[in-house]
């Protein structure tokens, strides 16, 4: 009887465990949960390479496609190394003052196959670590859309290494690793703030620190191959089931709810974008629907797992319409966020975090919280605090890192290299010969 109760407690809290200490008895690994988290890990891997590589690669000019795809690949590899050495420990090791994880798990020491109950009582600790590694790699790979077509390759490596350690890991700790935002009760199921607001705010910092591409607004800079972009969109959608579904840390009801919400929001948002663009510009477009789908998924990432299917429809409607508005607005402001990291991810993430504060329901996920519409207005304000903190921290921190990198090695390629294209000037190769 005691064992059954203990099991129930573990299952319930494992879905969204806040501040739960490791139980004295090592909980039992469940094969179903472990299999799902491993599969989700692989799904998220496919979002980075080749998902984002294709999504972004298709949107740049043909002289920059290899350089842009290489950004995704190198970020995946670099963040993987950093994650194993320091990143995971800084984000998820036992808390130091609510600010950062300690150095207990540097080099993955002590991160074994036994479950660490706080992060999933039924899966090996290393499975959780690897799943989180993919999220950590995906996030800076998103930023790459903002500095596309003009960054120096060595500057990118240094920026990403510093960003991952000093921006991503602390943020992940604050919200997921037992840090101060998590203790306040912030709900962020799979990274509305940790992944999307952080990468979007960093994208804005990149667009401002690097300046616009040569010929921006005068030259023809249309995407060189939108069929690649659609392929990437499909892979992102496919992988997002793992991104959000895997964040349930098990093959359970919350995972199903998260996937249902993800799919519904993606489809609704793509349709919303299509309709709005059709009315505004006179034609529905492929890039528009693809962007709408991504915007919808960025939006629902915070709330998947806390909201029901009809809530997800609202996420999709808001994500599609407001992200479209943000992109039209960008055209008027004039900063060159080349592939719209701000418009899709910052705006989507912010809407998603706030909407979670409205629409979250304990009826969907007992380990979550009720939102404003379910009688808990405080949750909305908690979410708003997380939005502001994440956006400001990521923007300011990123800007600082960028200025430092600029001083050390220079952020941009030379005008001649930029005109030639990154493929030839940075890598001595070209995509289409």
């Amino acid at each position: 009887m005691v064992l059954v109760l203990l099991g129930l407690l573990c299952w319930g809290s494992g879905v969204w465990a806040q501040g739960l200490q490791p139980l004295p008895d090592a909980p039992k690994i469940e094969s179903g949960d472990t299999a799902w988290v491993l599969a989700s890990t692989a799904l998220v891997l496919a979002m980075v390479v080749p998902g984002l590589a294709l999504f972004y690669g298709g949107q740049v000019r043909s002289k920059n496609v290899l350089g842009t795809m290489l950004h995704s690949l190198v970020i995946l590899c670099l963040v993987s190394a950093i994650w194993v050495l320091f990143g995971y420990s800084l984000a998820f090791a036992p808390d130091k003052g609510g600010v950062v994880g300690g150095l207990d798990w540097v080099g993955l020491s002590g991160v074994g196959v036994d479950p660490y109950p706080k992060y999933g009582p039924t899966i090996p600790h290393q499975a959780f670590m690897l799943f989180q590694l993919m999220l950590a790699a995906f996030t800076p790979a998103l930023i790459a859309g903002a500095f596309a077509e003009r960054i120096r390759f060595s500057a990118l490596l240094l920026f990403v290494a510093l960003w991952s350690m000093f921006i991503y890991s602390p943020l992940a700790h604050w919200i997921w690793g037992g840090g101060w935002l998590g203790k306040m009760g912030v709900l962020d199921f799979a990274g509305g703030a940790v992944v999307h607001i952080s990468s979007g705010a960093a994208g804005l910092a990149c667009a401002l620190a690097l300046g616009h591409r040569r010929g921006y607004r005068t030259d023809y800079m249309a995407p060189h191959n939108l069929s690649l972009t659609l392929l990437g969109t499909g892979l992102l959608w496919f992988g997002w089931f793992g991104f959000n579904g895997g964040s349930a840390r098990g093959a359970n009801a919350v995972a199903i709810g998260a996937i249902v919400a993800t799919h519904i929001a993606a489809a609704t948002s793509a349709l919303t974008w299509m309709v709005v663009e059709w009315m505004h510009r006179g034609k529905p477009t492929l890039l528009g629907m693809a962007s709408g789908a991504v915007a919808g998924m960025a939006t629902v990432t915070a709330g998947a797992g806390y909201v029901g299917p009809m809530g997800a429809v609202l996420f999709g409607l808001a994500g599609g319409a407001l992200c479209y508005g943000a992109i039209v607005w960008k055209g008027k402001i004039g900063y060159d966020d080349a592939l719209d990291v701000v418009g899709l991810h910052a705006v989507g993430g912010i809407i998603g975090m706030l909407a979670t504060g409205l629409l979250a329901s304990k009826g969907v996920n007992a380990a979550g919280a009720d939102g404003l519409l379910f009688g808990n207005p405080a949750q909305f304000w908690t979410q708003a605090v997380a939005v502001c903190v994440t956006a400001l921290f990521s923007f300011a921190g990123s800007y600082l890192i960028l200025k430092m990198v600029d001083g050390l090695i220079g952020l941009r390629v030379s005008p001649e290299e930029e005109t030639t294209g990154l493929d030839l000037s940075q890598h001595n190769e070209r995509a289409y010969s």
Binding site: Q59, Y220, A222
Partner: protein
Amino acid sequence: MKLVEAIIKPFKLDEVKDALLEIGVQGMTVTEVKGFGRQKGHKETYRGTEYTIEFVPKVKLEVAVADSLVPRVIEAITRSAKTGSIGDGKIFVRDLSAAVRIRTGESGETAL
């Protein structure tokens, strides 16, 4: 001899070719070109960004013919390339001072 140059809409090429063969033209040269006239270009929109494409794709057709055939060539092209909407293209005629068939060395109208 005259060289008749016609800039036409690409999708009209087959009809123009057939019309010219019908009136006895034996050969022609075709080039894919870009340009604009009073039609101006078209607009492309990629997410927030709009581009005006001034140079639109066209086909340039060149036919060398005897003077006597020129009016019928012009008539055939005008009839077959016409859609009635803006952007149908233009026909230019210029004098041709010499023509040589490389294989045989024939020159003048017999070389056409």
